[in-house]
């Protein structure tokens, strides 16, 4: 009787959860069941239940793809470079902004550098394709004015990954900067006062007070980005790449898209997707463990 009374008080909570539970079951959990397609030769019109089982045939096919190692390496390389610059640039800009005494200047810079974060990669790609064009883009025009030959930022496979890294940092460093600035304001000002009394130079203050003060945030964000090492940025690359730069710019997600959605090889695309999900899960798990250990980060 006591138990049922307790349950009665919980009923509204179940009612609140019900619609979301149903939607999540359908659109998040059902696709997890759909992973069995990785072990099938999916026939058009037959779906999951009618297609024949082929064991690990799809995985063997993936392993034998001539480009697969290159694609995995491209992914890790681009994501890794983005992660490194994605920490270094915002931390530097935050430290620089912290040295600015004019409130108006600081606020203006913050407002401007933060804007690209809210624009979609579609808009960004539209802008980039125009300004980076070798024939009429303004960037190459400006380079031409100082005597530099046109650079194929999006069409040269040696340059393409760097274009991706640079433009990604361009879009997101303002966002990162504001996070680090918020961390900077939490540093106890009396530490600086004490340092000045002890005769510390400004560089010594930066090195011994400011950096240690935001190291928690730096460690937390860098560790969490480890979980994203297989996400090199589908939205960005898909909208900017072309067959010219597949050798260095094709990543796991774009490969899955072309195999699955364009070529309709559902089984194979699902197999690649599954491998990626599993490795990502392990990495995210490790990242959260490390973040909890080093920076006392908790999701809940």
């Amino acid at each position: 009787m006591v138990l049922s009374k307790r349950f009665a008080r919980e009923i509204p909570l179940y009612i609140m959860l019900a619609p979301a539970v149903v939607l999540v079951l359908i659109y998040s959990y059902a696709p997890m069941v759909g992973i069995v397609m990785a072990f099938q030769r999916v026939l058009p019109g037959k779906g999951i239940f009618g297609s024949p089982w082929v064991g690990i045939e799809n995985f063997i096919f993936v392993a034998k793809m001539p480009t697969i190692l290159q694609v995995v390496w491209n992914t890790i390389r681009i994501a890794g470079l983005k992660a490194i610059f994605g920490v270094v640039v915002p931390v530097s800009v935050a430290l620089m902004l912290n040295n600015v005494t004019s409130h108006l200047f600081k606020r203006t810079v913050q407002t401007i550098i933060y804007l690209p974060h809210f624009l979609s990669w579609i808009i960004m790609a539209g802008i980039l394709v125009d300004i980076l064009s070798p024939s009429e883009g303004i960037v190459n025009q400006m380079l031409g004015a100082v005597g530099i030959q046109p650079i194929f930022f999006l069409g040269d496979d040696k340059i393409f990954p760097w274009t991706m890294v640079f433009t990604d940092v361009w879009k997101s460093f303002g966002f990162g900067t504001i996070i680090y600035l918020a961390a900077l304001t939490d540093i106890d000002p009396t530490l600086y006062e004490a340092a000045v009394v002890d005769g510390a130079t400004r560089w010594q203050q930066t090195l011994h007070i400011t950096l240690p003060g935001i190291s928690g945030t730096i460690i937390m964000l860098s560790t969490l980005s480890l979980g994203n090492i297989l996400n090199a940025g589908f939205d960005q690359i898909f909208n900017l790449y072309s067959p010219l730069v597949y050798s260095t710019g094709d990543i796991i997600d774009t490969l899955v898209f072309r195999t699955g959605i364009i070529n309709n090889q559902y089984g194979i695309a699902t197999a690649v997707g599954l491998l990626k999900s599993v490795v990502s899960l392990l990495l995210i798990g490790t990242a959260y463990k490390l973040a909890a250990m080093w920076a006392d980060y908790r999701l809940f």
């Binding site: 696709p31 997890m32 620089m96 809210f118 808009i123 809940f300």
Partner: protein, 294 residues
């Protein structure tokens, strides 16, 4: 924050300000350039005379874009998507955050449901199974395909649940003493006290709905059902000449392709620019949210 201690020597200060100003310019310049292009004539644009001010000012590109039915239609679909999607997202976020913010004693299944939702952040079936399920549920080519699959933003649920937990328990206990049930506590006490948080989350889901392009692109078979960003993907980023009519081809000679592309990009940016002041204002709330621990 502590100017006396942190003041830089003159030249270092100057260098510092210059580098920051250049960085800001680097972010602003491309946007101004696109705006200038969109208001320039075709000849000026193709002869490379346009920098950040329009050359041979004309609004012809805008006229062409706004007369384009497909563009207007996709703009309206995006608007509709935000107007329907945001309330759905927010309602579900609130309804899930409340039970998850209860204590284990109050809601015994809390742990189970917390994991039930968090797992979906950590692991997914991948692109193809996701697509197949949406197809199985009959949503291909339907407006609701843009709303239902992402109806619950789990990360926002975590943020909101954490923020509910920072509200003093005494308030709820007093209300419960007066006979208030869960619904009353949620709607009469917790929500009115969480307005800044709710505003932040609302703005963020609105931006993400506006910016979504991938789902529209692959879940809609016919381009006349595309939201704006998916439409731009096929017209501006990845142009398909088949989308142009005879009349368009004739007109494009007058107002180069480049200036109409610029005009379309800029129109798609306008809603974001309009709410940008609010985004800025609530952003600090957003950051503080992320660092709140339960």
């Amino acid at each position: 924050m502590n100017p006396k201690i942190y003041k830089l020597p003159f030249f270092e200060n100057l260098l510092n300000l210059t580098v920051l100003a250049l960085l800001a310019l680097l972010c602003l310049f491309p946007i101004l350039h696109i705006l200038a292009l969109s208001f320039s004539s075709a000849t000026a644009a193709s002869s490379g005379k346009v920098a950040i001010l329009p050359v041979e000012f004309t609004a012809q590109s805008y006229q062409f874009v706004l007369e384009n039915v497909a563009f207007a239609k996709s703009f309206l679909i995006s608007l509709q998507r935000v107007l329907v999607g945001v309330p759905v997202n927010m309602l579900l976020t609130i309804l899930v955050a409340y039970p998850l913010s209860r204590s284990q004693a109050e809601f015994r299944a809390r742990g189970f449901f917390a994991w039930f939702f968090v797992i979906t952040i950590l692991f997914s079936g991948g692109l193809i199974p996701w697509y197949m399920v949406i197809r199985q549920t009959g949503l291909i080519d339907k407006f609701w395909a843009l709303i239902l699959p992402g109806a619950l933003p789990v990360f926002n649920v975590i943020l909101l649940a954490n923020s509910f937990r920072t509200i003093p328990k005494e308030l709820e206990e007093a209300a419960a003493m007066d006979g208030a049930g869960h619904w009353t506590i949620l709607f009469r006490i917790l929500l009115p006290m969480s307005l800044p948080v709710l505003a932040t989350l609302t703005l963020f889901v609105a931006v993400s709905h506006w910016n979504q392009w991938f789902d529209g692109l692959i879940l809609m078979n016919s381009p006349d059902k595309y939201p704006l960003q998916s439409y731009l993907q096929t017209v501006v980023v990845n142009p398909d000449p088949r989308m142009l009519t005879e009349r368009d081809l004739g007109l494009l000679k007058v107002i180069s392709n480049r200036t109409t592309r610029a005009a379309q990009i800029f129109i798609a940016m306008i809603p974001i620019l309009l709410i940008y002041p609010f985004l800025q204002r609530y952003f600090t709330t957003g950051i503080k949210l992320g660092s709140v621990k339960g």
